[in-house]
Amino acid sequence: MNRTALWIRTGVILAITLVGVYLVFGPRRMPTSADFTWEGIKANLAENINLGLDLKGGSHLVMRVKLDDYLKTMTENNAQAALSAINDHTDPKIPVASNATVAENGNYNFSITLGDGADPDVAVEAVKKKVDLQTWNETRSGSTITWTLGAAAQNTLKVDAVNQAKKIIESRINTYGVKEPTIQNQGSPTSGQILLQMPGVDDPERVKALIGAESNLALMKIVSAANPAPVTTYPTIEAAKASLGGTVPANRKILPYAERDEPTAAAGQTPDQKAPTKYVVVEYPAVVDGSELRNAEAVSRTGAQGDYQITFQFKPSGAQKFGDWTGKNINNYMAVVLNDEVKSAAFIKSQIFDSGEISGKFTKESAEDLALTLKSGALPAKIVYQEERTVGPSLGADSIRSGVEASLGGLALVIVFMLFYYRGSGVNAVVALVLNMLLTVAALVLIRSTLTLPGIAGLILGIGMAVDSNVLIFERIREELKAGFDIPTSIDLGFDRAFVTIIDTHITTIISSIILYMAGGAGPIRGFAVTLILGLLINLFTAVFVSKTIFNWEMNLRPKMNRLSI
């Protein structure tokens, strides 16, 4: 190989090395002299390498949105709305033989049976006008109309619900002040699983409560005598049921009414809630619900702890609905319902348009959390936690130290052996190994991959493969020398022959690592696969190209060489 070609190769190697050094140790701004001190280098290193939660500490949560509940609720609401639409239809009046029935378990459909003489076409038209049932398949059998949610539509709804849940979770934790959280789907989007990673949060209890908090706000009309009579309450569920004739029709609900003690509790405590000894009957569906909220705020009347309440404002559409309804219902009782519990019941003094309040004696913290969850909207369904992993920063630091120590220890052993066993040529191997490590880390920085503990393991194994490549090449050169070839031919043959093997071994491992990456989910296996793949790709460059270039320089500078130190 002539000098020019060698210089070009050397230039390529140097350029790549410099880029690698910059990626790993360099600052992402104009360098200053401080960047060349030991402290500066360490700071830049910490800045550049994106450490995983297991190394720097943080929380890893896998949760699942209960999508079946979501679809079930949706079916029930639609059934109710469809029934109301038919009942409200005049000219002609449509007789209904039964209430809407909703299928249980897995099948999302509901049926309405019409009475004698009813025209199903008119009924369907009436429903279509009021309820959006585009994705529902409508079938008829006699006077019964059934609406079914098809599989494709189910999936679409599930994906939407998961996305909505992700957005809500994101806004909740952003407000809470978690830095750089990761929120993504885990597994297939229809599985309802969401992965949440929060670096730096090592006690996730409050965040978990905040995320899982249900905030289904609804303003509902109470079935009661109008003001000035007091609101009609019942001491037991049975009594409330009896008032409805023994069964609860679909357009009524019995809710517990929890009265709160007056604010006598000590500062810092939410006053004890009395057991919900009373029940009220409300009209269902709600007049306005939480999705119409524009804003919610925790406010204190007196500034004392335990004296907070939440005020809220509606969006224009909600305000319109609320205004219309309150205008028609002056002196009727209205309930502020939070998570199926009546928080307050009051009569309507005058028409109200856009705001309301949840009174009750909250602490500052609980009022703020509640306002936050109200503002971010209601989750489409309940969330359950499947997996929680937290690592405190000190535990993370320990893992780094032991991982790095083990890696460096392994590397030192390898270097000593290579120099001892292969003498002069061992230097080639050492250069190749060190460069391999540097470039692998640089590649991790470049693709913004996260270095995790399994990732460090992948790095160690990548180094193992790199050593193997060097050994394969050197052993082969030795064999060729022994077979009587001169030094340049032996080196060329050694590299050529070993290269075939190296390519095969590397491709095999890369193939299995790629499959591992794809099938391994979001878990720790991925970090392992990524560093291993990068390490192997880079090894093809360092063990073959770089090492060969060094041999070539050696031969070029000492053409009469009669002994190769190997």
Partner: protein
């Protein structure tokens, strides 16, 4: 030039029955351990499954004054947590507390989603409740140093519900099997499917052997073990390919020798590389076993066993199987093709033809 591996002429293939016998013996021991443990009433399970695959909670706590393992166990039992596992880490003041799935969840009929929430929510709380008997915890951002009256701090939690546990397990098994299929296809494409079969059988051998060790010694099987097994698979195949590659190269050069001789010599020719690489990698892994800490213990143990066995299986399992299969194929081909001139070439099986056409014979 240092070279202790010159002129080794060990007849590996002649001893193949011995090797395969040893392997089968260890596998039988593993099978015996796995099945036996399952059959003995009240005994341990086949595998010591970690919380990753089984569900459960691990809490890492740092104490100001570390109570004895027995005290911690008693405190947990008093708090109603059965079967806790207490482990020391390489730090004197830290302790790993592992509790199994809470009762409600192990009941297959009553396992509702509420119960799964229970595990992830309650696992940590149960442990905390028990540890509170030793004194107050440093909560949130507070450290032991910043709160003088705190007795301990929970510095890490791993809590996995039963559903997530089985998902992780299935995912890991599927990923491994798919990876093996990928390897099989690639070797079949590059060499010959008999080689692919040999390499893959060797891989299965390694994985089963590692699992046998894990069952016999009851080491904990967790997610990192899967990563280790995948590494072992990679290295085992790597070793097999190095030898196969040499066989492929030697076959057209030595048309008068039998495949058995060629393979034996190929193993011996690559023996120096095998020993050096395997030795270095195993040494590095040993560093991991010694200094890698408790978190990596299962991982590094699996690697240590697997890499050692992987090196051995390449020589003792993969090559004999590939050769045996090739010989079978060669024999039948000879019977079919009566043309004697081509028999020598045919006897060397399909990879030989590939080799001749694909690779120039330079020597």
């Amino acid at each position: 030039m240092l070279n202790p591996f010159d002129n080794i002429h060990f007849d590996w293939l002649r001893r193949r029955r011995l090797f395969i016998g040893v392997s089968i013996a260890i596998m039988l021991a593993g099978l015996f351990s796995a099945v036996g443990r399952e059959l003995v009433p009240g005994g341990t399970d086949s595998f010591n499954m970690g919380v990753d695959f089984q569900g459960g909670t691990i809490v890492t706590a740092k104490f100001r004054n570390r109570p004895s393992d027995d005290d911690i166990r008693t405190a947990l039992n008093n708090a109603g947590v059965g079967d806790p596992v207490i482990q020391s880490t390489n730090k004197p003041d830290e302790v790993l507390i592992k509790i199994p799935l809470l009762e409600a969840e192990t009941n297959p009929n009553g396992a509702t989603e509420q119960d799964h929430t229970l595990q992830v929510q309650a696992g940590r709380e149960e442990v905390k409740k028990a540890l509170d008997t030793f004194g107050k915890a440093a909560e949130g951002d507070a450290t032991l140093d910043s709160t003088p009256d705190a007795a301990y701090k929970i510095i890490g939690t791993d809590s996995v519900g039963a559903i997530a546990g089985s998902q992780l397990r299935n995912q890991a098994v599927i990923a491994t099997l798919l990876g093996l299929v990928g390897i099989l296809v690639f070797i079949a494409f590059r060499y010959d499917w008999t080689y692919a079969a040999g390499a893959v059988i060797a891989v299965f051998h390694d994985v089963i052997m590692v699992l046998s060790f894990f069952s016999i010694f009851q080491w904990e099987v967790n997610l990192t073990v899967i990563a280790a097994i995948l590494t072992i698979v990679g290295f085992s195949v790597n070793d097999s390919i190095v030898i196969f590659d040499r066989v492929r190269e030697n076959v057209p050069l030595r048309r008068n020798d039998s495949l058995f001789e060629i393979t034996n010599d190929s193993i011996n020719q690559t023996l120096s590389r095998t020993v050096i690489t395997a030795g270095l990698v195993i040494l590095s892994v040993l560093a991991l076993v010694l200094f890698g800490g408790e978190v990596l213990r299962s991982f590094s143990l699996a690697l240590l066993v697997g890499l050692t066995l992987g090196t051995y299986s390449t020589i003792a399992i993969a090559s004999p199987i590939a050769i045996w299969w090739q010989a079978k194929l060669g024999d039948s081909k000879m019977k079919e093709a009566i043309a004697p001139a081509s028999t020598k070439g045919e006897k060397l099986a399909s990879s030989a033809r590939k080799s001749v056409t694909r690779r120039p014979v330079t020597r």
